[in-house]
C-alpha cells in the first residue's frame, strides 16, 4: 500500500510537470470598460454655385465675370477640432493632417479613428492647409501627399491647395490657371520674407450630438466659387495663370477663404 502510494505520488508530480511544460498561457480576459464614445465619418463634397462640381467643362462664370472650368482640386486640412458648449473640445489626433484629392475618390471619405466622447458639440473648426510648425519639407515621404511639395526655394513644406482649371480671357482664348496656395514670399523693400497662408475656419451650422456607439456622417463642403469672391473678386485676367510667387494674389484667395467651407446635413449612420 505504501509502495502504491509512493508510485501514485511520483506519477502525480510527473504529470503535473508534463502539463505545466505543455500548458499554453491563456490570454488575460480584458475587463469590460465603459464605452462612452461614438465615431464620425467626414465626407468631402465639392460644389460650384451651390451644385456638385462638374469637372473639365467650361460652364462656370466667377464673380469677376471670367468663364472658367475646374479640372481638379487637392488640399490639406489639419487640426480638426470638435467644440462643446462648455468650452471643452476634442481635437482629432489619429490623423492631424488630412489630404483630399478630387481625383482620388478614396480621399473623399474619412472614417476617423478617434473615439469621440459622447455629448453635444456646437461647432467644428479646422486649419485650412498646415500650420507653420508642421508644414516642413519631407514630412510626407509617400504619394499622394508628397506630390504636394512646395519647393524649398519658395519656402518649402507643401502646397495647401492646388486648384487647377482653365478660363477664357478677354479675347475669349482658353488659358490655364493654377490657383495654388502655399508659403508666400514678401519682397517688399528688397528683402524676402516668407508669409504663412494657412488659416483657421469654423464650419457654420456644424452642431451635432453623438451618443454612445453612434456614427455621425459629417459632410464638409468646399464651395469652389467662393475662393474667387467675397470680400475681393479674383480676376484671372488681372492675376494671370500662376500665383505661387504672387503673394498679393494668394492673399486675396486666402481672404476669400473664410466662407469657402460649409457643412451639409449631419446624419446618423445606420449600422
Amino acid at each position: 500500500m505504501k509502495t502504491a502510494y509512493r508510485y501514485f505520488s511520483v506519477l502525480s508530480i510527473a504529470m503535473t510537470l508534463v502539463f505545466a511544460a505543455c500548458h499554453k498561457e491563456k490570454p488575460p480576459v480584458p475587463e469590460p470598460v465603459a464605452n462612452e464614445h461614438g465615431h464620425i465619418i467626414f465626407s468631402f463634397v465639392h460644389k460650384v454655385d451651390g451644385q456638385n462640381a462638374i469637372y473639365d467643362s467650361m460652364m462656370y462664370v466667377n464673380a469677376a465675370g471670367n468663364p472658367y472650368l475646374v479640372t481638379d482640386v487637392q488640399y490639406f486640412i489639419s487640426d480638426i477640432t470638435l467644440h462643446k458648449s462648455d468650452g471643452s473640445n476634442k481635437m482629432i489626433t489619429s490623423k492631424s493632417i488630412y489630404y483630399i484629392d478630387t481625383k482620388i475618390p478614396s480621399t473623399l471619405s474619412w472614417s476617423v479613428a478617434d473615439e469621440i466622447p459622447i455629448g453635444s458639440y456646437n461647432s467644428i473648426s479646422f486649419t485650412f492647409g498646415i500650420d507653420s510648425a508642421k508644414n516642413v519639407s519631407y514630412i510626407f515621404p509617400n504619394p499622394p501627399e508628397s506630390n504636394m511639395e512646395w519647393p524649398i526655394p519658395l519656402g518649402g513644406g507643401y502646397h495647401m491647395m492646388k486648384l487647377n482649371g482653365k478660363y477664357k480671357d478677354l479675347s475669349n482664348i482658353e488659358q490655364n490657371f493654377n490657383a495654388h496656395i502655399g508659403i508666400g514670399m514678401d519682397t517688399t523693400g528688397g528683402n524676402t520674407s516668407f508669409v504663412q497662408n494657412y488659416f483657421s475656419t469654423t464650419l457654420p451650422s456644424s452642431s451635432f450630438t453623438i451618443a454612445k456607439d453612434d456614427i455621425r456622417q459629417i459632410p464638409i463642403i468646399m464651395n469652389i466659387d467662393s475662393w474667387f469672391k467675397t470680400p475681393t473678386n479674383f480676376d484671372f485676367n488681372v492675376y494671370g495663370q500662376n500665383i505661387m510667387q504672387n503673394q498679393t494674389a494668394m492673399h486675396i484667395i486666402v481672404q476669400n477663404g473664410f466662407d469657402v467651407f460649409t457643412t451639409g446635413t449631419i446624419l446618423k449612420k445606420e449600422k
Binding site: 515621404p141 509617400n142 508628397s146 519658395l154 495663370q241
Partner: protein
C-alpha cells in the same frame, strides 16, 4: 534507497518525454523544408525617399529571388526560342539607367514598341501604374487572368515574353527553355522551394531584381546629404526648376523627380496615338497625356518624350521654353502654353541643363550588383 533512486529515474524519464513531446519536429536532412530557406532581403530606403514600397505580399524580396531574377534579366534564352538571344537587358541597359538610349525597342519581329523605352529605376516606389500610359496598374481587369498578376510589375516579365515587339513567344516555351538549362532548377529551388520552373516564378524573380534598381547617389543627392556642393550655374538651374520660372517641379517633383502622374505636356494639337492615357481612363481630358518620366539619369535616357522626338536635352529645354502648343486636353499645369512656353534666356537654359546633369548617378550606372552576372551566354 534503491526505491528512491528508481523513483527519481522514473521522474526524470517523464520530464524528458514531456519536453520531447512538446518540441517541434526538426526537418529531416535532405527534406524540402531544410533546403528552402530563402534569405529575406530588406530594401534600404535612401534619405528622403518614399517609405511605401510596391512589393506584393506573395512575392517577398529574398536574396535568392533577386539573384535568380538577375540571371533571368540578362539571359537571352528567356524568350524560349532557339533563334534569338533577346534579353530584358537588350532594351534596358545599365549604362542608360536600364532603358536603351536609342528610343523605341525592336523585338524579334522587328516591330517597334508602341513608345520609347522607360528606364528601370526606382520602380519599387511607384504605385501609380507602369508604362507610359500607366495601363499596368494593380486591379486592371485586363491583367487579371490566370497567366497574369493583376497589373503589377510582375506582369512586365509576362509582357516581355508575349508582346510582338518583344520576344513574341509564349510563357510555356520560356519556362521549358529555362527548365532545360541545368543551372536554373537549383536556383529556383533556392528562391522558391521547387526546382520545377513556373513562369509565375520567372516573372516574380525578375520583378524582385528590378525592385532593387534604386538610383539615389547622384551629385544632387550628395548635395542634399551635405556631401557635395553645386556650382553657381547648377544652383541657379535648381532654382529655375523649382520656381515658376521653369515650373518643372509640378510634374517632375519630389525626390523621385516624377509624380508618376500623367499629363498632356503641350507637345501636339492633334493626337493619333491610341496608347495614350485616354486608353486607360477614357476621360477626354487625358487625350495626349503620358506619364511624366523620372528625370533621374536624364542625361543618359534620351531620346526624350514618349515617342522619342527629341534626341538631346537642349531640344527638350527649347521645347518647354519656346514650342508649346495648345490642345483642349492640355494639362492646366502648362500655364505658358499660349505664350509658346516659358521664354527662358540662353543662360537660364544652360543653368537648367547644368542642374539636370547633376541627376546623373554614376554609382547606379556602374553598380556591379546590377550588371550582367558571369556564366551567361
Amino acid at each position: 534507497m534503491k526505491r528512491k533512486i528508481g523513483n527519481s529515474v522514473y521522474l526524470l524519464c517523464f520530464i524528458l518525454i514531456a519536453f520531447y513531446a512538446c518540441k517541434k519536429d526538426a526537418p529531416l536532412p535532405g527534406s524540402p523544408d531544410e533546403e528552402y530557406k530563402p534569405t529575406p532581403y530588406t530594401i534600404q530606403i535612401p534619405k528622403y525617399f518614399p517609405s511605401l514600397l510596391n512589393i506584393p505580399a506573395d512575392n517577398p524580396m529574398t536574396v535568392e529571388g533577386i539573384e535568380l531574377g538577375r540571371y533571368l534579366y540578362y539571359d537571352g534564352r528567356l524568350c524560349g526560342k532557339v533563334d534569338t538571344l533577346m534579353t530584358c537587358a537588350s532594351c534596358h541597359t545599365q549604362s542608360h539607367a536600364f532603358e536603351n538610349g536609342i528610343g523605341h525597342g525592336y523585338g524579334v519581329t522587328g516591330i517597334p514598341t508602341p513608345h520609347v523605352m522607360m528606364s528601370h529605376q526606382n520602380l519599387v516606389f511607384n504605385s501609380s501604374g507602369y508604362l507610359w500610359n500607366g495601363k499596368l496598374y494593380a486591379g486592371n481587369p485586363a491583367y487579371s487572368t490566370p497567366t497574369t498578376y493583376g497589373g503589377i510589375l510582375e506582369d512586365v516579365g509576362w509582357m516581355a515574353i508575349v508582346a510582338p515587339w518583344e520576344c513574341y513567344s509564349d510563357t510555356n516555351a520560356s519556362k521549358a527553355m529555362i527548365q532545360s538549362i541545368s543551372m536554373y532548377p537549383p536556383l529556383f529551388k533556392k528562391a522558391f522551394g521547387s526546382d520545377v520552373v513556373t513562369f509565375k516564378n520567372i516573372a516574380k524573380a525578375i520583378a524582385q531584381f528590378v525592385r532593387t534598381l534604386i538610383s539615389s547617389d547622384s551629385k544632387f543627392d550628395k548635395y542634399l546629404r551635405g556631401e557635395a556642393q553645386l556650382t553657381p550655374s547648377e544652383l541657379n538651374g535648381y532654382v529655375i526648376f523649382n520656381t515658376e520660372k521653369g515650373d518643372c517641379f509640378h510634374c517632375h517633383g519630389t525626390i523621385l523627380f516624377t509624380t508618376n502622374q500623367f499629363y498632356n505636356n503641350a507637345k501636339d494639337s492633334v493626337f493619333t496615338d491610341v496608347n495614350d492615357r485616354y486608353l486607360v481612363t477614357h476621360n477626354p481630358a487625358d487625350i495626349g497625356a503620358y506619364k511624366a518620366p523620372t528625370l533621374r539619369n536624364i542625361e543618359v535616357t534620351g531620346p526624350y518624350m514618349h515617342d522619342g522626338r527629341y534626341t538631346t536635352l537642349d531640344q527638350v529645354i527649347n521645347f518647354y521654353s519656346d514650342s508649346l502648343v495648345w490642345s483642349p486636353s492640355v494639362s492646366p499645369l502648362m500655364k505658358k502654353v499660349n505664350d509658346g512656353g516659358l521664354g527662358l534666356t540662353p543662360s537660364e537654359k544652360a543653368d537648367l541643363k547644368a542642374f539636370l546633369l547633376t541627376l546623373t548617378d554614376h554609382t547606379f550606372l556602374t553598380n556591379p550588383a546590377f550588371s550582367k552576372p558571369a556564366g551567361l551566354p
